[in-house]
């Protein structure tokens, strides 16, 4: 119960932004809420109260309780969310510079943060589900935040419908688990769920988790979600909200693996990792490359979870938050100073040291250069793999991922105008100077990226625990990718930018997967049309019966014509018939 305290600051700041029409103060209110929630998380860490339940409501003998906890991964996730949200709000103070947009932006962001924190502390499936839905709907609103862009609203719609499928699956799983034992407390479910029902519930929840974390075949909403403002991408669609699926699987891991979901997790993760690497290497959209990279990170986490390597997954979970948040913020600075240009070939001004230092650090961390966080996270996942073909495949993916992320860096760097001020080239100057709040957030995060690995190594007492061969192999893979990227995109020795392969035809936006989804939508629509036709015909039959009755009535009317002779004749005939009938009987 006391963990719910952490939800309060952002809930209040959301309500304040909703009720008071003050555009200027909205951002500061949210920032204060963020700082307060970091304080509350710290306080909760020092005074950890353990799992607590409140009785939400009860029906007959059944009671529905909301249980919260702060153990292990819950606390980690909560702290990451509080930290990232606050930094992103700081960043947004500079980024969101249209006055009329501020209030609704910070309102939605605050409600998102509140939902995310509720999700992070939930220790029973109903609490988790409430948070799960809240982050889904705020993600929908934030993707479609720029409502004048049709593409943004379309992307939001697509995202929410894919997430909706996941919501229904997870809800079904929860209902099945509840019906089995009348409890959806996670610890209880882990210990007691058995049989076919549990298997089915595990399957539903696992697939639901894949939708939220944008895994194959539900991945396509995430690159499209890049239509949202960059702070949103930095917070929701890289470091917090998309991790909800990973988190859900992680808290239920023993149960899910016990039901044999490991193979599904590894399979979906591997497919996602490959498709993400292929796609990221072929697209030139500055944010979509990063989005595919996020899909890849999530895939690696799922692989680790499927192999029952929870520590490895958590390690990547932590470090990924920092480097992915940072690189998105860098991307935001680059697009903002380039008049919202999103093609990496046209991005100017990356050479300025103020921009370049955090960019290089973020790219190095993402690629996995020793001793940054990305190295430890990805390397931990790779070394959890004991299977040779799988290991080789992952190494290949590491080469490609290093290649595409250095391509992300080298293509703008190799631009001839990269050191010039873009303001000269563009029609309206968006403000070449980067707002201080954005830089502040970026540098805090840069520091966090640099420090995180060091803190972690320190807490484990040195580097002795790293298997040497694996580390060398991993670093070699990264360096091969770096070298290839340097030769191909900086020295321009290769065929140039287009690295479109047969695989990307299957996986890219507008590719085969989209066609499949389109077919499903068309099928449902067609079913609707068929039902509508059926409905119309059935209704016609019902109406026809009504007309038929009316016709009989009109025929009967003709007998009542007011002629006395006619009536008399009818009476006589009737009497004769009656006599005959009675005599026969």
């Amino acid at each position: 119960m006391i963990e719910l305290l952490v939800v309060l600051p952002f809930l209040l700041s959301g309500i304040i932004s909703l009720l008071f029409k003050d555009d200027a103060a909205a951002g500061l209110t949210a920032l204060v809420a963020g700082i307060l929630s970091i304080g509350i998380v710290a306080w909760l860490y020092l005074h950890n109260p353990g799992a607590q339940a409140i009785n939400w409501f009860s029906v007959g003998p059944y009671s529905f309780t909301l249980v919260t906890t702060l153990s292990g991964i819950h606390l980690i996730f909560l702290a990451l969310v509080a930290l990232m949200t606050t930094l992103v709000i700081l960043y947004s103070l500079g980024f969101m510079d249209v006055a009329s947009e501020k209030r609704s932006f910070y309102m939605q962001l605050s409600f998102f943060a509140a939902g995310m924190m509720l999700f992070a502390v939930g220790a029973d499936l109903i609490t988790l589900f409430i948070g799960w839905e809240l982050i889904g709907i705020t993600s929908y609103l934030l993707i479609g935040f720029w409502r004048y862009k049709e593409s943004a609203v379309k992307a939001a719609k697509k995202a929410v419908i894919v997430l909706l499928i996941g919501d229904m699956l997870v809800f079904s799983g929860i209902a099945l688990l509840w019906a089995q034992s009348n409890s959806v407390l996670i610890s209880y479910v882990m210990a007691n769920a058995t049989g076919t029902v549990a298997l089915m519930a595990a399957l539903l929840i696992t697939v639901g988790a894949l939708t939220k974390s944008a895994q194959f075949p539900f991945h396509q909403w995430l690159p499209d979600a890049m239509e949202g403002p960059t702070p949103v991408s930095a917070l929701l669609h890289s470091s917090t909200m998309v991790k909800a699926g990973v988190f859900l699987v992680a808290v239920l891991l023993t149960f899910l693996l016990g039901e044999g979901m490991g193979i599904l997790l590894v399979g979906a993760g591997l497919a996602s990792v490959i498709l993400a690497a292929v796609n990221a290497a072929s697209t030139t959209h500055i944010k979509k490359i990063l989005a595919y990279s996020t899909i890849q990170d999530m895939g690696l986490m799922f692989i680790a979870l499927g192999l029952n390597a929870l520590p490895a997954a958590i390690l990547l979970f932590i470090f990924q938050t920092f480097y992915k948040g940072l690189i998105f913020m860098d991307a935001g600075i680059l697009t903002k100073t380039n008049n919202d240009e999103t093609d990496i070939r046209k991005i100017l001004g990356i050479r300025r040291p103020l921009v370049l230092i955090p960019v290089v650090i973020a790219v190095a961390a993402l690629a996995g250069i020793f001793p940054l966080g990305g190295f430890f996270g990805k390397f931990a996942v790779d070394s959890a793999v004991q299977n040779y073909p799988l290991y080789l495949m992952l190494m290949l993916v590491e080469v490609v991922s290093s290649l595409y992320i250095f391509r992300w860096l080298f293509v703008p760097l190799s631009n001839k105008l990269s050191s010039k001020k873009p303001a000269k080239k563009t029609k309206k100057a968006p403000g070449y100077a980067i707002p201080n709040s954005m830089l502040a957030a970026v540098y805090i995060l840069t520091f966090a990226v640099l420090a995180s690995a060091a803190v972690w190594i320190y807490s484990y007492g040195g580097l002795a625990f790293i298997p040497l061969f694996g580390a060398v192999a991993f670093t070699a893979a990264v360096l091969v990718g770096l070298l290839l990227a340097y030769l191909l995109y900086y020295r321009k020795l290769g065929p140039g930018i287009g690295l479109r392969t047969a695989l990307s035809r299957i996986f890219e936006s507008g590719g085969l997967i989209d066609d499949v989804y389109g077919a499903v939508v068309t099928a449902v629509r067609g079913l609707g049309a068929a039902v509508a036709l059926f409905d119309y015909n059935l209704y016609s039959v019902a109406k026809g019966a009504g007309y038929g009755l009316g016709g009989i009535s009109r025929t009967m009317e003709k007998t009542e014509n007011g002629s006395m002779n006619y009536y008399l004749a009818a009476f006589v005939v009737g009497a004769i018939v009656a006599v005959i009938i009675f005599s026969v009987i």
């Binding site: 479609g144 862009k149 419908i161 609707g528 209704y539």
Partner: protein, 466 residues
């Protein structure tokens, strides 16, 4: 208990007379006042129920053993509360179409008599009488105040409802003849034994036909889209918010009266599932906001029928909670759609754009109503869906979850409506008005109820447990 119910009915009759004889400008005020007085009376009734329980009624036809007896249970208290909230908000938010204020107020007050009577009467004959009063009031509501095709829609509605009431009458007569004590007292009927099993089956079938027609369950749903779409905003609010709940309450009574019903619960659940999927597939064909909302109402009633068929503690609570939640949310949806129509003069999904900028509170209310309908957490609809589907799984296993596919289709379509009509600012539709203060009151009242019941479900469950 009897005096208060009679008092409420008397106040309503006086209200009808006053509205009929005074000028139209007083109509709405009187209707609101009468609704407020009735609401106070209902609250008093519920307090009395909490303190002392049901009181026996007064016998008025001793020969037929038909009594003017009124009583209240937890279930009917909830439904009564729903009727009062919806009628009060409907009266207070006023006539969006701005025509026929007098007729609308009279019919609404008349309908209130029916609603109060039907949920309190402890006798099936009384139940039947009030049922027909309600049907007739709604018939005129559509026929006099409706849209272009109101005549066809109202006749259609009346035919279906007449079919329902004749079926109900047949069941009542059979029950009267074949029960040992020749009584129509609901309390007696629930505990009565000794009805021949073939008669019981006949009673069950005719009652089921009657109530499923009223609930607009496939294949007896044809009256619903036309009636909802053609009725005035106030008419749609009452139809969707209260009238279909007569059938829902009847279904619950049917399961209470006939022990046989439970044997057929799987078939009833199958019908409900078909109805849900059918409504969802019809829903995605609709281009008119009001028609889309009508099919959503049909879909929700299918889910409630599923919950009643599951017939365990949790699903029955879910069914009653669901009727309440669905009643207030669909009434809010229809109110918002009516206001959108009056503000933008447009209700076609393909042409309506950017309601959010033109009419902020209306857009929020519509979205909230939709979220509650699709069962989004922190709205009343979520608690209902939670209870209903948990209960359905308890009775029917995995098959109880099939209707979620219908909910999924409905939610997907509504998300695209929200995206295109509410959010998208590309080529916005021009607003030619604003929401009146009274309409905004309606939004706030119903939104508050939806959110409050989503966060604090015990508010309603306390009444339900009485």
């Amino acid at each position: 208990m009897v005096p208060i119910v009679l008092l409420i009915i008397a106040v309503n009759i006086v209200g009808v007379a006053l509205i009929a004889f005074l000028k139209p400008e007083y109509s709405r005020k009187i209707a609101v006042f009468v609704a407020a007085v009735s609401a106070v009376g209902v609250v008093r009734l519920i307090i009395q129920l909490a303190q002392s329980g049901v009181q026996p009624g007064v016998v008025y036809i001793p020969y037929l053993n038909v009594g003017l007896s009124f009583g209240l249970t937890g279930v009917t208290a909830v439904l009564l509360l729903l009727s009062e909230i919806v009628i009060f908000v409907t009266a207070a938010s006023g006539n969006v179409e701005k025509t026929g204020a007098k007729a609308s107020a009279i019919l609404m007050t008349l309908f209130q008599i029916a609603a109060v009577g039907i949920f309190t009467s402890q006798n099936l004959l009384l139940f039947f009488v009030f049922w027909d009063i309600g049907v007739i009031a709604m018939f005129f509501m559509i026929n006099v105040l409706g849209g272009e095709n109101r005549r066809a829609a109202s006749i259609n509605f009346l035919l279906y409802e007449l079919f329902a009431s004749s079926m109900l009458l047949i069941a009542i007569i059979m029950l009267y003849v074949y029960t040992p004590a020749h009584s129509l007292n609901i309390g007696y009927l629930i505990s009565a034994t000794g009805i021949p099993s073939n008669v019981e089956l006949a009673v069950l079938i005719s009652m089921f036909l009657a109530f499923m027609t009223n609930m607009a369950v496939f294949p007896f749903h044809f009256w619903l889209p036309d009636a909802y779409a053609e009725a005035s905003t106030q008419g749609s609010m009452l139809l969707s918010g209260i009238l279909t709940k007569f059938g829902g309450y009847g279904m619950l009574l049917m399961f209470g009266i006939s022990g046989l019903a439970i044997h057929y619960s799987q078939y009833i659940a199958a019908i409900a599932t078909v109805s849900v999927i059918y409504a969802a597939l019809m829903l995605i064909r609709q281009k008119e906001l009001k028609r889309a909302a009508s099919y959503a109402a049909m879909l929700e009633m299918g889910i409630i029928l599923l919950a009643i068929a599951a017939y365990n503690t949790i699903s029955i609570n879910g069914a009653v909670y669901g009727m309440f939640a669905q009643g207030i949310s669909i009434a809010l949806a229809f109110l918002a759609i009516g206001v959108i129509k009056s503000i933008f003069d447009e209700s076609n999904i393909d042409r309506l754009r950017d309601v959010l900028s033109g009419a902020r509170s209306t857009a929020y209310s519509f979205a909230l109503a939709i979220f509650s309908t699709i069962g989004f957490p922190l709205t009343a609809g979520f608690i209902a869906e939670l209870l209903i589907f948990f209960g359905a799984v308890q009775s029917f296993g995995v098959y109880g979850l099939i209707p979620l596919a219908g909910v999924l289709i409905m939610a997907a379509y509504f998300y695209s409506i929200i995206s295109n009509c509410l959010l998208l600012r590309n080529k916005p539709t021009r607003a030619i008005g604003i929401a009146a203060g009274s309409q905004r009151f309606g939004f706030y009242a119903l939104s508050l109820a939806i959110v409050a019941l989503g966060i604090l479900p015990f508010l309603l469950l306390v009444v339900l447990r009485l």
